[in-house]
Symmetry: C2
Subunit: 315 residues, 2 copies
């Protein structure tokens, strides 16, 4: 009958929510992440907003769950971040316990998103599922036998780093041709910018939508929706690489459902229609499968709901 | 304290074993499969040999497990076979129960091999593992949270059909560039035969070892071990494709261990040394993993031991 606190720390936005023991969201507090503020800025935001939410809770708040948008060592309950200073090997759960006297469990945003969709979204009632978050980068979380499968090094579900492209583009991980080099928001932007330089006539609308600023993935999707050839080409290549990766995941895991979340995946049918088309074309008759591929039901809130599930597990 | 009966029905050989409740093998009966005999021949062999083993058992035999070298619908406990007649939608477990009055559980040889290694071989004490059987074809079994993960359509672990080669060779599944088109025994043979026709000077020793018959994978491995350039090239390409597939499996599952079984994988360091080399080269610093890749400890008997584990589960 108690409530729990859920926190989603992302590179662009952060969110806190108060949830009841059934996973209903009672209160929400959202803000924009200031990357230059580093760890200290974020922790002071969390302290203020969590205190506020807990003060407004009608029930005792018994535990906390956190989705962290960066690598998490789940066993040690430590986070780290490549991009923002101060997070290296930081015991975030311990900090919550020390600060709020709440038991806490932290996991990365992909596993949290998977948990959220599993308990409260498109994965309800499944036995196994894969959740992919496609935004700046690409992360994934695996649920197997009804539980998060984190793997030996907390590295399971890293679909962003399987090789699906023969382009040979170098990935941030050091390998070449990873899914992330074609289908992530960052990749779509980089490809669009390069394309706009080389073939400006095919990307005029995308450039116009950017309005003098750097082209964003959002501009590319909007221009593609309006029919611009160059933008459509980039989106189609992303969709095809994504479909290849999904087919590989189906061969290995054959989950009940694959759930796509994150800004890029949630940009709508422009990406997902060709993904379904390609998956249909590749369904080998000898290897029939009935894995469904759907959008995240909880939209951008899958990780926050997952954080609530982590909090409820931590009780 | 009772014993169990284990059966391994393969395309080339079949095996029956009597096991105690701790998984120790007490008696063994092996034979060569006669594919032209179809289902009836195999069932009559099983009947005779199983009766014999059970008559010689010092304990009551309480259940039976079967590893089947072909597709198995685990939920329905039905087998089918592409190659041998009479097995389509055959209720093999039911036949065992009717014939021997033994409870029975059947699974495909890849899942059975995984179970065998998990309980009695190189996977003992792990939480998650992947077993690959590389022989005529390539199959795989996934263990997750200590249990076989079969997937929605009993199709999990199909690593033979993930695309790892840009060669574009058509696979039996209808897709192109699957691992099976490069690294299976059949693929190695086909490639060697083609190579021997086009570049006979590079394959002279392989052809000699075949002694006037069709080149087999075994000839290729022997010639490669003796230093023949053409044979080494074919083995190296197989190893590289296999390593690419294993790296993908590590990204998705990050299991404690990957165990390689089946005739091709068990042909020794010639295949596995370059696999380890390639995996080492590709270990991206941002994605460090500690998944081990090892040979099956039970050799060709992993599926039979897995059948014993199935029998013990069926009790």
């Amino acid at each position: 009958m108690n409530n729990v606190l859920a926190v989603d720390i992302g590179g662009t936005r952060f969110r806190l929510g108060l949830f009841d023991s059934e996973g209903h969201r009672l209160l929400l507090s959202e803000g924009r992440t200031d990357p230059s503020g580093g760890r200290e800025w974020m922790l002071s935001e969390l302290r203020k907003r969590a205190d506020d939410l807990m003060a407004r809770s009608d029930q005792h708040v018994q535990s906390c769950g956190i989705s962290f948008g960066g690598p998490v060592d789940y066993r040690r309950q430590q986070v780290s971040s490549m991009h923002v200073s101060g997070w290296e090997h930081f015991g975030l759960s311990q900090w919550v316990e020390d600060t709020f006297s709440l038991r806490c469990r932290v996991d990365n945003d992909a596993n949290a998103g998977a948990l959220g969709e599993f308990h409260y979204g498109a994965g309800r009632g499944t036995e196994s599922m894969l959740y992919l978050t496609i935004s700046t980068g690409i992360g994934g979380g695996v649920i197997c036998g009804g539980r998060v499968h984190r793997g030996k090094d907390s590295m399971a579900g890293e679909l962003g780093h399987i090789r699906v492209s023969d382009s040979g583009a170098l990935c941030s991980c050091g390998d070449r041709g990873c899914l992330e080099t074609v289908a992530s928001g960052t990749a779509i932007e980089l490809r669009a910018r390069g394309f706009a330089r080389r073939k400006p006539e095919m990307m005029a609308r995308t450039v116009e939508l950017a309005g003098g600023n750097q082209i964003t993935a959002e501009c590319v999707f909007r221009a593609a929706a309006e029919g611009e050839e160059g933008a459509q080409l980039i989106v189609r290549e992303a969709a095809q690489a994504l479909a290849r990766a999904l087919l590989i995941a189906i061969r290995i895991l054959n989950p009940d459902v694959i759930i796509l979340g994150g800004g890029v995946a949630l940009s709508g049918p422009l990406l997902l229609d060709p993904v379904h088309e390609y998956l249909g074309e590749c369904s080998a008759p000898m290897l029939k499968h009935s894995t469904r591929v759907v959008e995240a039901e909880l939209g951008n809130y899958s990780p926050l709901y997952g954080a609530a599930a982590l909090a409820l597990e931590a009780v």
